[in-house]
Symmetry: C3
Subunit: 309 residues, 3 copies
């Protein structure tokens, strides 16, 4: 029996190196199968999505992943138009959705929501983003992309830039990277540095440096992971515009980087990566999105098949 | 040829005991089939949903039912964002949706909407709730649940509690129960008693008692069917709070009930059933939701297959 | 290899007579196949819809078309609730959606949007309506309907009535008709006449007459194509009401028409065609909607299968 069968995906913290490598291997397999073989993997299975926070991108990534392995999807893409608005509890909604499906994909504003959901659900829960720190499938997707594009993760120097304070993607990625032997360099405006409470646990397994200057270590990086800086995070617009301008990744910056470095972004992107980067060999964010679909397909296949696929 | 083939499901009043028992038998069959066999039943068929009144729960019950028998679903979950907003008539919308599908599931605020739709549609119509009195598939689901959990319907003492005035579910259930030899006990605040015009026909085939006191017959009931009491129904909040408090089904009340009694609810639930009831053997509302999916799958199978399944 | 394989459908202007006839032949084939054979055509393929302008009708036509040939659909029916709201560019959204699917259906307010999308998309783009002039699949559907119902297009006298100024459907149809030897008669209020810039190119290949009087040539028409007149287009309501009243197609007008004339409408209809026309042999707008589904299914089949079907 494969160890992911009927298991929840709640937190990136549950994934050690061995587990991650198994998922990577399954993702590789998904990518090698032809479309007909692939569609046998979850044939006849139904995924239910339950989004308390809208995220078209994540929802469609799961929906298309499920379609690629032959299953179908249904659900609530925006809870404000659903029964939950009538005051139904998360527990009841999850219970019912688990009756309608074989696996449940939950996105919620609150920390701990997926863990709670898993306790009442009859079917496995996949956390598609919750609270301030958790987005485990995004982190696995990011790690897989690094592995795929750099052929390894150990030994890499990885820069993460942007809003490090509020981005759940960043914390999940850092936890994931904690399983590898990497040097992490965090780049952000002073006001958007990683939160000390959230970084506390990460510190135990990961060494990192911090700076506000994007150019400080730029020539040493193997991977530059860019995230959005949201206007809403700043008390005044002038401050925002100043910061925004100094964190745009453009061709000038790329020239200072290693020739074989790669640039990633969880998307959607605003203008933190200039579009003239898109066609360089270093830009890998669209590949990253594609890998994300395959990683999710692999996870669905593992969760729904006792003996894997 | 099976008698439901290509037929509309408009009103619970059209279902006599024999018809109900046939649907129950088909539902039992659905539940016994394995997933692969089940998905042959409506393979290649398309269900279109057309909701003039949003109901995520009902829509997903149909969607998942259709998926379980191998069909797919499409449609309009909230008409306010559709062409109908441009002023298109119900007749035209139904005609077009019937071109896009093999069976149409309609939810509408008006009495008679489904009957009207059936006259213009090229494909069978299933009423998924209309006007003040009709929700036939919910009633069949409720009857099936009682039969399944109590092994019979005849001879049972059935309490129905809550908002009996405005709940279409209640009237549909009463009509359905009229086909059986049952004692019905209606419990509601004075201001939310069943409407005399709506109960008129039911009275001819069903004997019932009424009270405002939940405890009056509680120890005699085999089934307690709980419905929501909606705040909007009360002229002032104080009145609402008084009533609400006295109609909560909790462990204290359960202790007064027969050991093998069951508690049902069409869901979503607010706090009219205390969550500490959920894990008792008497709570059957989540089973009820699951049976609902299978009942709908059976109906779809019967409507779309000339010789049944 | 069929010439439509992996090709975009951007503009009706790209379709000459030969191409149109090939699509018509494929549509005929779709209509002759039984449901099981039909569902093999796009089995395992995914259509992604991306609507920057809501259109339930067009979306469901594509969704049901894709289902009829065995594929599935996913996407964004209303971009305002999606990541694009976070400021993502059309280019990025298209790139990502093309990762999630095999073919992309785009509806957008701007002229040129589909052409632009095709440049960045990894998968074929179908224009489902853009800007002021283009709705190519609607035009092909309209031409197919005329051919099917009148057994020919050449030699017909075709009236087009209503809002000829703002309707993209009208311009696309006129371009399509430019491939045939037809007489076109345009009927509209003075203020809603065809735009001279948009008709400029059409004039080169199509001869037409214009009038404001619906009855002028009514007895000569083989086809009357009716479009909506939208209240919003008029500066004051009185003017609107005057015009509206004089462009309603009712039984009186029908009596003046040739016995074998047909009446078409892209739908949704308000009251520009009286409902007592619906059951006459001349009313073909619901057939037109059905043909639209098959035309789209044929296009999907051609685009997604190297050797056609």
């Amino acid at each position: 029996m494969n160890e992911f069968y009927q298991k929840d995906i709640i937190s990136i913290k549950e994934f050690d190196r061995e587990k991650l490598e198994k998922i990577f291997a399954s993702t590789d397999k998904i990518m090698q199968l032809n479309s007909t073989e692939r569609r046998k993997i979850c044939k006849g299975n139904t995924l239910a999505y339950l989004f308390y926070e809208p995220s078209t991108r994540t929802r469609l990534s799961f929906d298309s992943a499920m379609a690629s392995v032959g299953g179908n999807s249904l659900g609530i893409s925006d809870i404000t138009s659903s029964s939950a608005q009538k005051g139904e509890s998360l527990a009841d909604t999850v219970r019912i959705m688990s009756i309608y499906s074989d696996v449940l994909v939950l996105r919620h504003t609150l920390d701990g929501s997926s863990k709670f959901a898993a306790e009442v659900s009859e079917k496995p829960i996949i956390n598609a983003g919750s609270g301030t720190e958790e987005h485990p499938t995004q982190a696995i997707q990011d790690l897989f992309t690094i592995k795929k594009e750099k052929k390894k993760i150990d030994g890499l120097k990885i820069g993460i830039i942007g809003d490090l304070k509020y981005g759940r993607t960043v914390y999940s990625l850092l936890h994931g990277l904690g399983n590898y032997d990497v040097d992490v360099h965090l780049i952000s405006p002073e006001s958007l540095r990683v939160r000390s409470d959230s970084i506390y646990e990460i510190k135990k397994k990961l060494s990192y440096t911090e700076s506000t200057d994007i150019e400080e270590y730029i020539d040493e990086l193997d991977v530059l992971y860019v995230t959005r800086i949201q206007k809403e995070r700043f008390p005044d617009e002038e401050e925002y515009l100043k910061v925004k301008g100094s964190y745009v990744v453009g061709l000038d910056l790329l020239k200072q980087m290693k020739d074989d470095s790669i640039i990633l972004h969880p998307l959607p992107r605003l203008d933190e990566i200039s579009t003239d980067i898109d066609n360089t060999k270093n830009a890998k964010y669209f590949e990253q999105a594609e890998y994300g679909k395959h990683v999710r397909a692999a996870l669905l296949g593992l969760i729904l098949n006792e003996n894997g696929f």
